[in-house]
Amino acid sequence: MLLELKNVSKIFGSGCNNCLPETGEQADRAICPVCHSVVAVNDVSLKVKDKEILGVVGESGSGKSTLLQLIFQDQPVSEGTIFFNGIKDREGNNCNILELPPARKAWLRNHEMSMIYQNPHLGLNFNFSAGGNIAEKILGAGEKRYEVIRDQALYYFGKIEMPRSRIDDYPDNFSGGQQQRIQIAKALSSSPRLLLLDEPTTGLDVSVQARILDLIKALQYEMGFSMIVVSHDLGVINHLTDLTLVMKNGSLVEYGLTDQILEDPQHPYTQLLVSSKL
């Protein structure tokens, strides 16, 4: 088991005892009727194994992106626990990564996980060159030899099929699809065990989408990391993932093999989602 979430919830607002029971799938709402807090993620438990690719689908506002941000620690978790393989306390027991001291959390983010955002402005620092952005991740993982950093940056820059001569250019000077590929190079440069992708190809034209999906798939096959892919595009989910979970109003409504979910959806909401596919 690489990653395990147990009863994870995220409440935006003051929060009260009614928040979780009064919202979610059954209640068919995400806003608590008592305190009017927004329950973005409601009591979600899931497991990701090594090399597994998990897709997360759902309509906008269903809590897909928030779930990723909770795993990547971009947002504090309101309730629940998250375990990551190999993260242990002093006694050698698996420990909740949410309770780690800041330095170890940073270590986890730099060494073990990487996130690719829909908007390159979130994932890349536009004041640094493309190579500098990749170097930032390698430096964050503790490497302090220039030659090694430069070689690694060039290696991952090559992996995303970019000419080496452009490595010192700034992200502004690249197209949207190229910026997305630089994000991928940056994310992979620390050899993470878990890659989180938040709508990685949304907003790109279809031919570029296809190339980026193929690239991600090839790199995953080669390097063997696990992935969690958030997308509202069932085509992307179908193309990339082995397992899929469906979210609605912050709750997990269906979970299973991707093929099974797309061919034979059980939950009425999933049926609606699949039947609405263009």
Binding site: P102, A103, A106, N125, N127, F128, S129, G131, G132, N133, A135, E136, L139, G140, K144, R145, Y146, E147, V148, I149, R150, I167, D168
Partner: protein, 281 residues
């Protein structure tokens, strides 16, 4: 100027106490930036008020005071600050580096090696080394606490990739005691090696930014540098001071109509070297 009604050291005792507390904290946490209540001074902010406040709260009537501006005892800024401190304390002034117990400096470390009974007070314009890469002060504090200096290293990486070495000429970032990365004030790279393992106490005061930090005696200070790259200081090989003939010191480059001339930046060093030469002749 009459000084009959002014307390010793210009400040009242409470003010001195507050500044000394900030300094004690700074010494206890080498390289950590401590905020303090920077006072209005009779000179404008940005003209050495940080160093001045540190000096005034440290000084006793037994101290010997030396003030330099870019190594020079005679520049207007140095003379004014020295005259002011002497007028409110009556301490003895000196230009001799080995005789001074407190040396307040702007942008240089004296050439003459310092000793344990000396304190070097720096005037600092920009105390926070992370400002160039992270404007948010709350984030800066987190980054210092987590020893997260990846963004500073990226600047170094980019310079090395594009120009072969760092382009920073002064204010070169240093790692103090293997933890905090610190702005050493705009001293040249030439002076960076002198910060490390120095027997003297080094205190940095930024009056406009209201910050104090310190390097205690014999503290390890390293320039921020990739482990497979050498830290290079200014190269003055083949050049010597035209006045005293010194080599191996930091030289000022003076552009005149008849070309470029080089002189010692440290005037005390220049004067003593000149005397030694004449004595020998």
């Amino acid at each position: 100027m009459t000084t009959d009604n002014i307390t010793f050291g210009f400040f009242d005792e409470d003010a001195k106490k507050e500044i000394r507390r900030a300094m004690l904290k700074a010494v206890a946490l080498p390289g950590y930036i401590v905020p303090f209540a920077s006072r209005e001074m009779p000179i404008a902010r940005g003209w050495g008020t940080g160093g001045l406040q540190v000096t005034l709260s440290l000084i006793t009537d037994k101290d010997q005071l030396k003030i330099i501006d870019q190594g020079c005892d005679g520049s207007v800024n140095a003379v004014n600050i020295r005259d002011f401190i002497v007028s409110v304390t009556g301490v003895e002034e000196t230009t001799a580096t080995p005789d001074a117990t407190i040396i307040q400096t702007r942008h240089r470390v004296p050439e003459y090696p310092l000793s344990e009974n000396q304190t070097l007070v720096y005037q600092v314009p920009y105390p926070e080394v992370l400002t160039t890469v992270e404007p948010d002060t709350a984030r800066q504090k987190e980054m210092h606490a987590n020893v997260d200096y990846a963004k500073l290293w990226v600047l170094l990486y980019e310079d090395t990739a594009q120009f072969g070495d760092s382009r920073i000429s002064s204010r070169y970032p240093v790692v103090v005691n293997n933890h905090y990365v610190m702005d050493p004030s705009p001293i040249p790279k030439f002076d960076i090696p002198k910060l490390s393992d120095n027997p003297a106490l080094q205190i940095f005061g930024a009056g406009r930014e209201k910050r104090i930090y310190a390097i205690p005696p014999y503290t390890d200070v390293k320039p921020l540098k990739f482990s497979d790259r050498e830290f290079a200081i200014e190269d003055f090989s083949g050049k010597a001071c035209e006045r005293c003939g010194s080599e191996d010191v930091f030289l000022d480059e003076v552009h005149l109509d008849d070309g470029v001339h080089f002189f010692c930046s440290d005037t005390y060093h220049c004067d003593t070297h000149l005397k030694e030469d004449r004595g020998a002749a």
